[in-house]
Symmetry: C2
Subunit: 232 residues, 2 copies
DNA sequence: ATACTGTATTTTGAATTCAAAATTCAAAGC
DNA sequence: GCTTTGAATTTTGAATTCAAAATACAGTAT
């Protein structure tokens, strides 16, 4: 309607153009997701459709579609005839979350030991080194980003698409719990050591040890987050 | 010709009755889900919004909302500006699915051994006996239903809400794969024996054995389904 | 003053409308 | 004969409209 920059793919006659202009509701969903994750929309608060529509400058239709997506991700709750509210961070649920995530990580570990190629292990080692460098320089945001990226890459390389999807979905909620607990990046040193153990086990292709290391890492992360939540 | 009476009545167990009239899009989503699961809408087929709107006698708005729900469940794919199509049953993905499900079941087993109360174990034993009775009488549909119910009950009693949700979600896709492979109820006898082993381990509260039994059961189910898929 | 009831306002749910993109199909050009 | 081009049609995306439900509020009765 106005000067908004259209996101469109450059007209390429060349085949592989996987980049599609995403639907409005997807853009809105992404924005909303970020707002919920980072606590800009407070847990438990009611969501006024009208207000959000105005702030996003979209009509209610795409906003409501986006809310349905977020609802399926568990970030908002839809109360019939009563609008939507941001889901509360329930320590009990977070505990459950980690209980499951620990096992998923263990599975990732086993699969990784079987399936990771040499090049991929080197890639991970490089990312790891890079992360340690951020650690050394105390660059928190970059460290956190790389940490997330490494975990995602591990899930990708494990070669199980369903596992990757689940870890991504659960990681959403975990990230939110971290924010809620002001714990985005606690346990630097410990965490770095655990990562080292993971890399070593992977390089030895020791499935048992790798599963144990990843399980251990996730369990300790969970304990820290839960502790942070309790201390609010 | 069909049974459209089963739309509501989620009302069941414990105290606080959250009785609510469900939104139109939820009803539509439930119907669609069933149609996809049972193969009434063929994998890979494009979904015409107009046609479905007419058959459901609703406008496009709730139908589109329902499609978004199904898309998040992985039963349909949304192609921007090109409508929706029913997701194909990919044997590779089904294999991944079971690979994950096996671990979730193992976790269920461990938790069950720790947390199941005597009354709940008795309840499960009763359900098991009832299922065997259906087996004896060769009542396939009832057997299958009870089988599903027992698995769900096991997940519930394991006391981890996240685990329950994930198992429910994955079970959706597994059910679809079974239909696709014409395998809704293969392996009667074998399956019944495996269930017996599960119950026994649970009654002994032997977490290790229970995890092993449930893992084993799910793994064999997966093998059978994959075999069925390959033989299409 | 408090609790209750009926009414007005707001908010949500669903249908309809309008615009933009894709698909179809036929004709023109090579 | 085959491919390409460009309207006409269909289908999807998003805004708007209309209806129903919930909330807020005022007045009344106890």
């Amino acid at each position: 309607m106005d000067d908004s920059a259209d996101v469109k793919a450059p007209e390429a006659h060349d085949g592989a153009a996987p980049l599609r202009r995403l639907a409005l509701f997807e853009v809105v969903a992404e924005q909303l997701r970020e707002m919920v994750l980072e606590g800009e929309l407070l847990p438990g608060s009611r969501i006024s459709e009208k207000r959000l529509c105005e702030s996003f400058e979209v009509s209610r239709t795409p906003l409501r579609e986006a809310l349905k997506v977020l609802a399926n991700e568990g970030l908002v709750e839809l109360l019939p005839n009563r609008g939507a509210k941001v889901t509360e961070v329930d320590p009990r649920e977070v505990a459950d979350l980690f209980e499951v995530m620990v096992e998923l990580e263990a599975l990732s570990g086993q699969l990784l030991a079987q399936r990771a190629g040499d090049a991929q292990i080197e890639e991970l080692r490089a990312l790891h080194r890079q992360m340690l460098e951020h650690y050394r320089r105390q660059e928190r945001v970059e460290y956190f980003r790389l940490n997330q990226r490494i975990h995602r890459r591990l899930a990708e390389i494990s070669g199980n698409g369903v596992l990757l999807e689940l870890e991504t979905a659960l990681n959403l909620k975990i990230t939110r719990a971290r924010y809620a607990a002001n714990m985005q990046l606690g346990r630097w040193d410990e965490s770095a050591r655990e990562h080292e153990a993971i890399l070593e086990a992977l390089e030895r292709r020791d499935g048992e040890a790798l599963a144990r290391a990843m399980r251990d890492h996730m369990r300790k992360t969970g304990d820290a987050v839960l502790e942070g939540l309790a201390a609010r």
